[in-house]
Amino acid sequence: MTRTKKDLRKAFLLVLPSLLLMAFFVYGFIGWSLRTSLSAWRGIRPDYTFVGLRNYVNLFLSDRFINDLWNTFYFTIFFIVVTVVLGFILAFLINRNVRGESVFRTIYLFPMALSFIVTGVIWRWLLNPTYGINTFLGLISEKLGAFGWYTVPTQTLGFHPALIALILAASWQFTGYTMAMYLAGLRGIGEELIESARMDGARETTIIRKIILPLLRPITLSAVIVLGHISLKIFDLVYAMSGSGPAFATDFPGIFMFETTFRGNRYAQGAAISMIMLLMVAIVVVPYLVSTFREETK
């Protein structure tokens, strides 16, 4: 059926309000933030005096921001690896005609219904160095039971062991999500394919490596993108669990931005941090969006 020009114009008018909202509240505001990041605004009243890249230079000269970038780097890597690997393992296991499958699925996935704040509040208690899970770990080894979790201030090669607490909580929340994605993918792979490989005497590990994983690659990619963009802008969980931590051990750009802007009234600095966060997310997401659309229009 052919669409007349008039109809298409009408269609465009229907989405125009949303486009205008996005133009103003997304793109306009990003521009406004960019302008703020290039200004001298410090204090309650806006001050848009242009200062060039000064705020950015200062950020990259500050120990706190460099520290935050390292934390983001390590947190992102470990969070993604743990969540993707565990999610795959669970999906793979659950897919083997498990009795009570839906019960297991429901249990693994329920943390996705919670807010980061709830997760953070609970895990802060669980990993509390004096109470918490350490009571258990202390039974295994005394050294293990004395681990300070999110209160450890030290670091090696830019990695703060305090991040382990956050990685644990975040992966607890999102493993069910990757499991659900992989499970949907596994259901799409024909059982016959795997069965015939088994008949041919292929080992289980070979089947996983040579057949299943390659077929699931698009899912892995989506999972990495989704988890990656969550971790690059992480804020709530950290805020509820540990804040910036001792010696900024659990500080992140999101926390720094919020504190410096709304607690310290350094709007220009906060805006600069937010622009760097946007850039980091864009580097991950834009290529993905572009390739998805290319494929679709093909």
Partner: protein, 283 residues
Amino acid sequence: MADYTSRDITLSVSWKRILLYTVLVIFALYFLLPVYMVIITGLKPFSEVSISRMWTLPVKPSLEAFADAYTRLVPNLVNSFLLVIPATLFSALIGSLNGYVFAKWRFRYANLAFALILFGMFIPYQSILIPLVQFHRSVGLYGSINGLIVTHIIYGLPITTLMFRNFYAEIPDDLLDAGFIDGLGIITTYFRVMLPLSLPAMTVVFIWQFTSIWNDFLFAVSLTQRPAVQPITVALQNLAGSQVVEWNIQMAGALLSALPTLLVYVLLGKLFIKGMLSGSIKG
């Protein structure tokens, strides 16, 4: 399925199955560990919340902590409902109209327009936060639930548009054309043919939006300052931040604030998962 069971029986080497179930159960326990902790701690009177008895069941279980948490949090629970219901409704309805257009009416640059809308769901909200707060101040929305409602409707549009577009794309064009043969216009076709068909998608989007708006913290903490208007996430964080030692109240509060979304998840799990998976792009 049948040959699996028969093979299991013939081999009778069910040690593999036993191992499988053991691993699954261990993981289940791991995921449930925090739940156990929340419940037993929430049921303890303050005197029992101590190091040595952290993992043990309460000796004299009481609803004291729950009652206390409830009194403190109930105004904020109400705020969250006042926020979530209209914000979910409007973001879903507008998203449904957008999704219909993007799925069935490819005007010039429709793809580009769609991509520009979609990008809004990935941005770190920090990057629009300062202007947003300034804007809310200047139009008098700052510090109000209405301000939060408007914010969540606007920034919810990308995801709702995406979800509906994916849904409508699956509906055959014939149905649309049938509407046109009956002399319906583009808008009437939407209301008479498409919208009624989209009921399943509508439920999925409702659940998704309900959960994500209920769970939002960044907008809530940045746009509201008075405890009287703050949503539950902010109130819980304040409760946990100020009462460092009263873990029993904190845990009870955490459970209370998670209850609505948990209930939705338990009752409508399948639709929840559907929404979650359609949120990860894919055309």
